[in-house]
Each structure stands twice: as structure tokens, then as C-alpha cells.
């Protein structure tokens, strides 16, 4: 009796485990997202530096840090923050460039498509021929030679 219940439980769990594999393709079926982009990583590191500066100021006010140390350390921290800021700007530019390049690529593709129309589609009547043919199957007009085949 208990054994039967246990075996049913095992089968149930096994089914539960493999069902995600059988799910149909959906819009969510996409590669796993990256956890942290380089840009977010840089931003966080900059936040850490700001936090370090705040800490330093607090310790200075508490009398733990001498004037001399405070000044040099603060400058070091600020230099580090500036460097990170520069790096994240570069990173942002990279992302912007990426986007720009992507846009340009998309435009080029669209242009190319306009210049090199689908070889099966008749430029006259827009009929989609099922095969690369010399004459359109609908209106009989000769299809442009360079669009035929590949």
C-alpha cells in the first residue's frame, strides 16, 4: 500500500520534471539572459567607490583618519571613481555603437532586400512563384534575370 503510493509519487515527479522539455516553442524560448552586463558591473563598482568615500568621510569626522591621510585617500578614491566613470562611458558608447551598427545593418538588409527582391516574387503582380522560373506563373511576364536562383 505505502509502496504503491511511493511509486505513484515517483512517477508523478518524473512527469513533472520532464514536461518543461515537451512544451511547445513560445516567445519565452530564448537563450538565458546574461546576469550582469559589463555596464551594470561598472556602475556597481562605482557605487562601491562612492560608498568607500562616504566611509572615509565618516571615519575622518570620527577622528580616526589624520588630515594628511584623508586628503590623499580621498583623492585616490576620486581618481578611481573617475576611471570607472570613464570606463562606463566607454562601455555605454560601445553599447550605443552596437545599437547604431545593429540599426545600420538592419537598414542595409532592408535596402538589399529592396534592391534584390525575392526571386520568386513577380515584380509586376507580386505573385509568389513556388519555383525559381523564367516567366511568372500568374501574369506570364518575364522575371528579372539576376533575381532568379542564387
Amino acid at each position: 500500500m505505502e509502496l504503491g503510493v511511493a511509486i505513484l509519487l515517483v512517477i508523478g515527479l518524473a512527469v513533472f520534471t520532464v514536461t518543461p522539455l515537451l512544451a511547445p516553442d513560445g516567445p519565452s524560448e530564448d537563450a538565458l539572459p546574461i546576469d550582469v552586463t559589463p555596464l551594470a558591473d561598472l556602475k556597481r563598482r562605482r557605487m562601491v567607490v562612492y560608498e568607500n568615500i562616504k566611509d572615509l568621510e565618516f571615519e575622518y569626522k570620527a577622528g580616526k583618519v589624520s588630515n594628511e591621510d584623508y586628503n590623499t585617500l580621498r583623492e585616490n578614491h576620486l581618481a578611481e571613481a573617475a576611471q570607472l566613470m570613464l570606463a562606463s562611458q566607454e562601455q555605454e558608447e560601445i553599447t550605443e555603437h552596437d545599437l547604431m551598427i545593429e540599426r545600420q545593418v538592419a537598414e542595409r538588409r532592408a535596402q538589399k532586400k529592396a534592391r534584390h527582391p525575392d526571386p520568386y516574387v513577380c515584380p509586376e503582380c507580386e505573385f509568389e512563384n513556388p519555383l525559381p522560373v523564367k516567366f511568372c506563373g500568374n501574369c506570364g511576364k518575364e522575371l528579372p534575370k539576376r533575381t532568379r536562383g542564387k
Binding site: 511511493a6 515517483v10 515527479l13 522539455l21 546576469d35 565618516f58 570620527a62 583618519v65 594628511e68 578611481e80
Partner: protein, 674 residues
């Protein structure tokens, strides 16, 4: 229920293997569908190990002695409270228990990361389930707790159940023993999760400081359990073993100390990576080491290789563990080696006089402690293997090496927080060290004139005063500075200061607990011991205490017989208490055990053991030990626990960081939709 347990074990093994493979595939092809399936396999693994654990507990609670494990670790007369710990009283059960705790940790990791760390998760599951595969394979194949007893008769093999079980070792029948092993195991097992995070970060090349930020808590929690387990073990040893001490450098004790030390090193050096982007390789190495030592500790505790120092036969899981440890080392070091390029440091050490170098020294010393303890623990095994002679390494070796190491660590505990990050000038050092050093010097002077002349003891207490003063100073200075700008009262200021940076101030509280523990250690130098034969009316003096024997009695409980002596205690002529140390004889186990009587104060414990009855005179053999300051070890332990809990509370800085992360996620989602 025996068959149900066996089904649970097989199914758990299958789920673990499936989870390991599907996790790896999901990671390789970045497939969310596969990841979902792997996550469900983790839940299946959890359900099945739970089924096995419930079955074994059922068998133990119903005294089913058909089951060979229950028959050898329980008995009819065993009190009910000790039937639940039957699960971890022996090798087979405790390996199942280990597997079950792992399944809980992994299931939690999966549930808490449903939306986060999507890229890391597949390999985290794969690695944890790899560990799960090993442990469920061992529990199923080599050390199965569901083996049935049977007898070969003329008609064939028939099931057999003895009328009563062998019972549990009397020394384990003690209340802190019920929670001590689960705490230790939660500590050992939990280190698998940060290890998996680190390995997954290596495999996916996601080596920003995300993994280390996420991992910190996953180290802190098992570290806390491990520390609690160690203190409870000391408490148990102090109360039950009858020798009056809490730490004997026993191999099994050392086994739990090793990952704790490595974990402590990690929790410190991780801060340098978070704050300064340094020591990245080192941190991965420490996580690998911590996990490796956790498995090694389980191996030492459970394989019988330690008892095999005396009798080399009975270890059947030893070879399995050796292979597993070799796999862990080979896998993790290869992964680390292949990703060295991604672990470049972002900054260099600015100065030797800095917080960073303080942490670095702390790391080296902790590592030296790990090596010393490791060496002392495995030396008997090594010498047996190489020379055929078993050389035991006793407490003198450990004390000689570990006392100076402990004192250095104690000094750094106080000095580290007084150094500034990056660089500290002599002027700042003078500013911060003066008050604590003056305070420590005053305390040291008083102690010296009060008669503390032993160097190590004096230094230990001197450093305790130094560290305590520096911690109090940190809180005081911080609160005062805060009060200037917020106009809060002092206590509100301390509270808000602490809550703004729970990690730092929680850490200080942990340090304070460690100071108290060291105070307790120092007290051992003034331990006083005496013994005598006592019959009714006899007196025994131990320093200020005068013990008078009132009576000697015998009695019988469900699972043991006992002899006891009633001792009335007076101190400086005032009646203090009546103590009843017992000598118990456990019937099922045929073993005797002393049940000590204690009178504890914050200054000292009066510890009385009845070692037995003198056959010649029928008088009781009474040992009296005065243990100064022992209570501070337990109090310190509780404070360490509270400080760690505080450090686990998310502070306002961490919440900001999380918001940054969330903001990015929302942005990504919005981007995705458009």
C-alpha cells in the same frame, strides 16, 4: 516502510543524475526549457530524500528491528527524544541525513533564484546535483540504511528481527548531542552552495563581483551553523566526557575546525574583493578549500579512517570518498586554471599599513592554522602508511602551534579595524591605537599584580582587553559622529549606525564574542584539580569550596542503573548547593558513563565527577575540578551567533545595490518587450 525508503533512495539517485546532466546541458546551450526541467529535478531530489528520511525515522520510532540500521543504533528502552537522532547516530543514517540537508539547500537555492542569476543557475544545479549523486550513490550502494536483517534457515532465507536493538552510545544520549550533529552537518553541507556558485561563475565566465556578492550569505549561513556546532560539541564534551575540558584536539573535532577556519578566511578576504577588486583568484581558492575541507571533514568523521588508526579494517566508504575528493580537486583547479585571465586584479596593494594588508595577514595566519591542524590530524595516517608506525599527535603539538597562531589572530582582530583602507599613516595609527593600548596596558598591569604571570595567559588577556577596547571605541566614535549630524540620542545612534552597516557592526559583535571565548580559554591556565575517596560524612576541600558527602545511593531508570552521591557544598563557610554527580550504567549498551554535576558562575565552574566506587572501601571516587571562566566560552559562542545573525540582515547599502540590479532587470525586460 523499509521498501518505501529504498524506493526513495533509488529515485533520489536518479533525480540527482538527471539534475546533474540536464543542468550541464542547460548551461552549455543556455536553454531555459532545460533549466526548468533541471530545477524540477532538484525538487524531485528533495522530495525523494525526504521520503527516505521520513521512512527511516518511522522505522526508528516504531522500533522496527528488521531494519539492520535501527537494530544497531536504537533499543526499546531508548527514550523517545533520542529516537529521532537515531537518524544521524551511525554512518548509513548520517550519510542519508547529509544528502537530505543538501537537497534542502539546493531546493532553497533554486527557489530563491527563480528570477535572478539565470546564467549561473544551470551549472549551480549541475554541480550540486553532482555532489548529490555522489552522496545518494554512497547511501544507496555502499552504506544503505535500509538493509534488512535476515536469517539463513533450512527453508531458505527468512527475515529476522532481534527482540531488542543494540542501543545508542550512552555518550550520545545527551541533549546538546541532539542538535550538535545537525548544526555541524548544516555547516558542512551548506558549503556546497558557494562552491557551486564559484564554479558556475568560472564556467560561464561571469567573473565580475556578482557571484561573490551573492555567495557571501551562502557562506555566512553554513559558517554560522558550523561555528554553533563546534561550540555545542565543546559544550557536550565538557558536560559528558567527564574530563572537564571542551576541546581535546580529537581528529573528529579538528575535522569541523578546518572548514570553519577556511570559511573565516574567505569571509574576511571577500571584503577586499568587494571593496577594492583584489584577491579574486585567492577568493576562489578559499571557497574551493572550504568545500574540500567540508567533504574531507565528513570523510574523517564518517569513514572510520580515524578509528582505523587503531584498527585498519572497517572503512568501506573510504576509497569512495578519496576518489570523490580527487575529482573535486581536479575539477575545481582545472576550472580555475582555465579562467585565470578573467580573474585579473583591479587594484594593487597601496601600502603595508592598510586594512587590506591586515586582512591579508589574517588570511595567511588562518591558512597556517588550517595547515597545522590538518597536519596534526592526518600525520598518524600518513606515518602509518609510510613507515607502518602509528604516531599519534597529541594536544601538546596543537597547543604549541595553535596558541601563538591564536594570539596573532586575536591581535589582528583588534588592529585590523583600526587601519584605514588603502594606506594608513603613522599619525592615524597613533590616533587609533593609543586609547585601546593604554586600556590594555592598565588591564595587563592589574592582571600582573593579581598574579597572572604565565606569558601566554597574560598576553591573551592583554590582547582581549585591547580588542574589546577597540571594538567599543568603534561603536562609540561612530555613534558620536552620527549624533552630530542627526541629533539622535546615543542609543538610537548606535542602533541606526549598526543597521546602516550590519555587516561591519555585526562583524564587530562577532569579534567581541571571540574575545569572550579567548577569555574563557585563558581561564584554563588556572584550572585546579583534586580527588578523594568519600563515604558519608567525609570532607574534601577544593580551594575555597568544602564538599561534604551526605549519602551514597543507587537507583534505576528505564535504560540505565546509576550510583550517585549527594555532596553538600559550602564556600567560605556559606552553604552553597547540594550536588549529585552520577555514575550511570546503560543496560542495552553495556557501557557506563559519568554524569557530571556542575555549579557554574561567571567566575568559575565547580565540576564534580563520580568516577565510580572504590571496591575496597565502598567509598565513592570523587574528582573535583575548578574551571575558571568557562562560562565565557558559551556566552562568547552565543554572541558570535547573534553577531552573525545581525550581519545577515540586509543593510541599507546592500538594498541600494539590489535596487541597482533590479532597475537593470526592469530595463532589460522593457528592452526585450520592445
Amino acid at each position: 516502510m523499509n521498501q518505501v525508503g529504498a524506493v526513495g533512495l533509488i529515485a533520489a539517485l536518479v533525480f540527482a543524475i538527471y539534475g546533474m546532466i540536464s543542468g550541464a546541458i542547460a548551461g552549455k546551450f543556455r536553454s531555459p526549457r532545460m533549466l526548468k526541467s533541471a530545477q524540477r529535478a532538484v525538487l524531485g531530489f528533495f522530495a525523494m530524500t525526504t521520503l527516505a528520511v521520513v521512512s527511516l525515522e518511522y522505522l526508528a520510532l516504531t522500533n522496527d528491528f528488521h531494519n539492520s540500521y535501527v537494530a544497531s543504533h536504537s533499543s526499546l528502552a531508548l527514550p523517545l527524544v533520542y529516537k529521532i537522532p537515531v537518524l544521524w547516530a551511525g554512518q548509513q543514517g548520517s550519510l542519508l541525513f547529509w544528502t537530505w540537508l543538501l537537497s534542502i539547500y539546493v531546493a532553497l537555492a533554486v527557489l530563491l533564484n527563480r528570477k535572478k542569476n539565470r546564467q549561473l543557475m544551470p551549472y549551480i544545479i549541475a554541480i550540486c546535483m553532482g555532489v548529490g549523486t555522489f552522496f545518494s550513490l554512497i547511501t544507496f550502494w555502499v552504506a544503505n540504511p535500509f538493509d534488512q536483517l535476515s536469517l539463513a534457515t533450512a527453508t531458505g532465507i527468512t527475515p529476522y528481527a532481534p527482540p531488542d536493538g543494540n542501543g545508542m552510545a550512552p555518550s550520545l544520549q545527551y541533549h546538546s548531542m541532539v542538535i550538535h550533529p545537525p548544526m555541524l552537518y548544516l555547516g558542512y553541507v551548506g558549503m556546497a552552495i558557494p562552491f557551486a556558485f564559484a564554479m558556475s561563475a568560472l564556467l560561464t565566465k561571469q567573473l565580475g563581483d556578482n557571484w561573490i556578492r551573492v555567495t557571501r550569505r551562502w557562506v555566512m549561513v553554513p559558517w554560522m551553523f558550523l561555528g554553533t556546532g563546534i561550540v555545542l560539541g565543546g559544550h557536550w564534551a565538557y558536560h559528558v566526557l567527564g574530563w572537564g575540558g571542551y576541546w581535546a584536539w580529537d581528529p573528529v573535532e579538528n575535522a569541523s575546525l578546518l572548514p570553519w577556519l577556511a570559511g573565516t578566511a574567505f569571509l574576511h578576504s571577500v571584503m577586499i574583493q568587494e571593496k577594492r577588486g583584489m584577491l579574486k583568484v585567492w577568493n576562489v581558492v578559499l571557497i574551493i578549500l572550504t568545500f574540500f575541507l567540508s567533504i574531507f571533514g565528513t570523510f574523517l568523521t564518517r569513514s572510520g579512517i580515524i578509528s582505523s588508526v587503531h584498527a585498519f579494517a572497517q572503512s568501506n566508504i573510504g576509497p569512495w570518498f578519496s576518489v570523490f575528493l580527487a575529482i573535486i580537486a581536479a575539477f575545481s583547479l582545472t576550472a580555475l586554471f582555465l579562467r585565470l585571465d578573467f580573474l585579473k586584479t583591479e587594484n594593487r596593494l597601496d601600502s603595508v599599513a592598510s586594512r587590506e594588508s591586515g586582512f591579508l595577514f589574517n588570511n595567511w595566519i588562518l591558512l597556517a592554522a588550517v595547515l597545522a591542524v590538518l597536519w596534526g590530524t592526518i600525520f598518524p595516517i600518513v606515518s602509518k602508511a609510510i613507515q607502518g608506525v602509528t604516531v599519534t599527535v597529541g594536544p601538546p603539538f596543537f597547543n604549541k602551534v595553535m596558541v601563538p597562531i591564536g594570539l596573532l589572530l586575536l591581535f589582528l582582530t583588534g588592529a585590523g579595524p583600526l587601519l584605514a583602507w588603502r594606506k594608513t599613516s603613522f599619525q592615524s595609527i597613533k590616533r587609533n591605537f593609543t586609547v585601546p593600548l593604554i586600556f590594555a596596558a592598565i588591564v595587563g598591569g592589574i592582571l600582573f599584580f593579581a598574579g597572572v604571570h604565565r606569558l601566554y595567559t597574560w598576553m591573551s588577556l592583554f590582547l582581549c582587553a585591547f580588542v574589546a577596547a577597540s571594538i567599543v571605541g568603534e561603536f562609540y566614535k561612530g555613534a558620536r559622529t552620527r549624533m552630530k549630524s542627526t541629533r539622535e540620542n546615543f542609543f538610537a545612534s548606535v542602533y541606526n549606525l549598526t543597521m546602516r552597516n550590519t555587516r561591519r557592526y555585526g562583524g564587530y559583535i562577532v569579534h567581541f564574542g571571540i574575545v569572550l571565548i579567548f577569555v574563557g580559554f585563558a581561564g584554563q591556565a588556572f584550572r585546579f584539580e583534586t580527588q578523594g575517596l568519600m563515604g558519608p560524612g567525609d570532607l574534601l576541600r577544593a580551594k575555597d569550596y568544602l564538599l561534604r558527602c551526605e549519602s551514597i545511593d543507587t537507583g534505576q531508570k528505564a535504560n540505565y542503573q546509576y550510583e550517585t552521591v549527594a555532596l553538600s557544598v559550602t564556600k567560605d563557610g556559606h552553604a552553597l548547593t547540594v550536588m549529585h554527580p552520577q555514575k550511570r550504567f546503560f543496560l542495552a549498551e553495556q557501557e557506563s558513563l559519568s554524569h557530571v554535576a556542575l555549579h557554574s558562575t561567571l567566575a568559575q565552574d565547580l565540576y564534580v565527577v563520580m568516577a565510580g566506587q572504590d571496591p575496597g572501601s565502598d567509598k565513592a571516587i570523587i574528582h573535583v575540578i575548578i574551571n575558571p571562566l568557562v562560562q565565557w566560552v558559551w556566552i562568547g559562542g552565543i554572541i558570535v551567533l547573534l553577531g552573525t545573525l545581525l550581519a545577515l540582515v540586509p543593510s541599507s547599502i546592500e538594498r541600494q545595490m539590489a535596487d541597482l540590479h533590479k532597475g537593470r532587470e526592469e530595463l532589460a525586460e522593457a528592452h526585450h518587450v520592445s
